[in-house]
Symmetry: C3
Subunit: 418 residues, 3 copies
Amino acid sequence: MTSTAGKSIAKRKTKKIILADIPRVGPGTPAGEWLRRYWLAVGTVKDLHDIPQAVKVLGEELVLFRDEFGRLGLLGLHCPHRGTALEYGDIEDGGLRCPYHGWLFNVEGQCLEMPAEPKDSKFAQKVRHLSYPVRELGGLIFAYLGPHPDDPPPLPKYSPLMDRGGQRQIEPVRHCDYNWFNFYENSADPAHICILHRHAGYGEQTWGNHFFSYQEMPAFDYVEMDYGMKGVLTKPGPTPDTEFVDEMSLALPSIIQVGDTEFVHAKLDAAALMRDGSQCEHMLFLTPNDDDRFMIFTVDYYTGPEADFFEKLKQMRARELPKQEVKAYDRRKYVPFKGNIRQEDLITQSTQGLLGERQEQLAVSDRGVIMFRRIVMEALVTAWKGGVPKGLLPRERADQIIHLDSFVGVRAKRANQG
Amino acid sequence: MTSTAGKSIAKRKTKKIILADIPRVGPGTPAGEWLRRYWLAVGTVKDLHDIPQAVKVLGEELVLFRDEFGRLGLLGLHCPHRGTALEYGDIEDGGLRCPYHGWLFNVEGQCLEMPAEPKDSKFAQKVRHLSYPVRELGGLIFAYLGPHPDDPPPLPKYSPLMDRGGQRQIEPVRHCDYNWFNFYENSADPAHICILHRHAGYGEQTWGNHFFSYQEMPAFDYVEMDYGMKGVLTKPGPTPDTEFVDEMSLALPSIIQVGDTEFVHAKLDAAALMRDGSQCEHMLFLTPNDDDRFMIFTVDYYTGPEADFFEKLKQMRARELPKQEVKAYDRRKYVPFKGNIRQEDLITQSTQGLLGERQEQLAVSDRGVIMFRRIVMEALVTAWKGGVPKGLLPRERADQIIHLDSFVGVRAKRANQG
Amino acid sequence: MTSTAGKSIAKRKTKKIILADIPRVGPGTPAGEWLRRYWLAVGTVKDLHDIPQAVKVLGEELVLFRDEFGRLGLLGLHCPHRGTALEYGDIEDGGLRCPYHGWLFNVEGQCLEMPAEPKDSKFAQKVRHLSYPVRELGGLIFAYLGPHPDDPPPLPKYSPLMDRGGQRQIEPVRHCDYNWFNFYENSADPAHICILHRHAGYGEQTWGNHFFSYQEMPAFDYVEMDYGMKGVLTKPGPTPDTEFVDEMSLALPSIIQVGDTEFVHAKLDAAALMRDGSQCEHMLFLTPNDDDRFMIFTVDYYTGPEADFFEKLKQMRARELPKQEVKAYDRRKYVPFKGNIRQEDLITQSTQGLLGERQEQLAVSDRGVIMFRRIVMEALVTAWKGGVPKGLLPRERADQIIHLDSFVGVRAKRANQG
């Protein structure tokens, strides 16, 4: 942090961070500055081909590409020369070439060529285009848009991204057109599973029927973690000294791990699963495009014995279509939605409006949401003041595999702690 | 009116109401406050099924529903808990249940259940959601969005809404995407009938040809009424002591009655009609969704002898398609329109822009419009100051059938008075 | 200029004109006032039929029509009476009649009739609607929206618009949805031809291959002219004392002449062309609709011997489709574009953003653009202060044919001057 930056942070202290700051992610906003302290998923290896890919991240128009040598670059979308979108450029000669006048940029944003300039011109050497560090891990592409491009924090080695003898699947990227935080905080709210999703797959098989019952909901508990927060849902187990447990983790700034994917969707050998716990890590990386849109990157990592686990999972999900009968007079935009978990989440979250703008009356069962907002607000304040916000990986843990310990299964009863 | 309200009204006196205030209907605007003093049509019985119906009224996002016991409710669209649209909720268990966390609201907005709250929670009792009084009359559903929800003014028993041995028809609701007042004041402007509609059905049968002649227009006169204003159009009658008369009524805040429906469209026995006068009340209830859109609810009540009057009317209207030949080079958005009265009204009104913003030069033949704007402005000022605006039904007339006396036919000549 | 105008100009002197003023064309803006000093193309004779044509010019909503006597009129789109769009009016009885109340306006905006007014009313005589001078020349329709409607400057007799024994073609009007100046200044930038258009028709025939080579670009030079600016591109000629020349002219405020149309596209007898120079004037008239959209009116005038020159040109252009292979994963909006000059221009210019808002780093090869912006800025300043901006035709040249001398061919070597 330079002394200039220090001064600007000193000034910032006078701004009071409020709830309405959370959903706004543009440059210079508290949440925007906070999110810029971490690595964020911006693409997938599978979807990045030999053409540039325009992507908006935290309100910034950018272009992602892989050069001929396999290096990844994330540059400002508009050529610094006269503004043309590099999305239409050519990947060649060691970089990305603007279609208009052929300026060529390497992955660091360094201009390498200006074909129309005099042969002896040194101008190219002086032009460096906006460029952000990009890294590839486990099939995802991450970028760091923060204040220390030359010395970014370590990219956490989240366990599902690391090869450990299991099977990995990257789901097709989901693009949503509402504010990202509505989706994120929904994961701090287990009550909605028993209620909103009562018509869905959850209700149709053993785990869902028993655990996420509308009539008899599980007990909820929330634990603040070094990475963020964990929700712990419990019910009395098969024997008096055991309990059924379903946990989900929220790792700052925008990661969710849900542990019960194979229980709910894949319907494998339930008894073994109960005994051994979840064998599929299902991790979601959220990245806001701007205040109104976000992307969901989903990684599944399976370490169990089924060779065709993901094929089975896919088939199960395909069968989870909305089951709602649509009446002739029903013209509502999002009908049918009942019976499909993702559609159900969509209609409830996309109609909420912006946190801090909408009116709310929170209740006891919102205590997960309340705790999570508090944790996020503290992280915003910390980042705003130039400190190290929660969940930012310390350098000494750079080489560790980062496990989010979202257990699902039967275990010995314990006190309120995940 | 509470003393707080009294104070805020005292403050309001300092605001000068201007023409540009008329088309703006949001909460806290002069026209918005004025319109909120009356009952407004917000739906039809026929179109309200067993699913919630989102409807925007005067800039407020609301949801209309009928509970299992047949009671009508009009609540704020967004659940007071965390903002999800109740449009996707379920009508069950004595109310409307939010899809997200199952909060259940009855038609008065009282929260009845919060399934995820502790069994002994009393929080539901403390939550009352935004709710407006709703009533059903003659196939229409009316709501009162005003300052006295617990003691609203009487809902006027407009004659076409009351069963009196005749036949009633509710036309399909029309949704228009321009400012409602352009439509409303068009009815205070009989000149346009002879001119704009000269290509339309009016010109193709006896009544239209004779009465609304482009070459020889009827005399226009306007009379201020207790309910608003009436336009009186006259031509010399078949005998020296008689006159042909066509009247139309504008009842505040947003009602129009046109008397000549069967003359113009149904083409029944003309001699009898002339002698006996119109037997079909054709009443329009306008409700602004916001400043840019409005709905038209149309009720026809026929007291004549034809058993299949509405079937005939429907067939006549179906034949009144635009007759305009569309040339190959004609790419104008609203072509064809000539020959269809509703299309003709649409193109002229939707391109006018907002009253008070558009430039105008009014003429002698606009005296109906001028008088009507004056009457509306006075009502706005009265409402703004907390008084009783014109057309608001006094309690002592609550049980009367309200006739808007728009006569059409031949009658003895009289002085300038409707 | 009246003394009132003089005062307002005195005030204006305090405003500093900046680059960001160039692309904004609304009334009262510096560029808007500058463009209003000239005649601008607003339509074509061929496209103006017996119906009114709505057209937005410099941010003003207008309607163009030709009355029954063949006179052209350009009036405000909205009727001065109550605002209805005259686009839906009828051309009859010596003018354009509003559909709503039949007010009739002649091409000068004078109201001729108000059918609903009393027979003895004189009000029509007092109403004069917004009207701009319009003239027809060589198949195009020009309008003057400036401060001296009764005494506009002469409409320049640009040579391709004047009949001189050759053949004329008016191309279909192109409508573009980005700022007009991105297109205009692109013509002051010959570098882009060798680079952006390297995949296009230019590269596929003798002239393009040799002259606009990506590897060996021609020398560029720019000359300020009385009409604006000329770009002069040269390469060593077939003999030591000759040079190949390709010139293009930018005539203020918004005209481009490109000289090499038949070299590039028509592929006629190259040797003869080289010797005699271009025989086809290819002139573009740009007219901004507003800050985000503009129209391109293109006139070709051919004075060579080929009877079917335009038919050949059309066939050549039809073959110049984008040649780019579109990969299955390529979802970019404007793909394919490579190989079609107009598509290539579109993707580069439409993504630039507004001049003065976008960030830029200009180089030596932008010196044409830099000079041109300087010339335009000076014209803006001059017009803003009430002076005579560059390119405004003096009255004494009103009868001259205006040649823009964009030579293309081989000629004796000369010093740096067009």
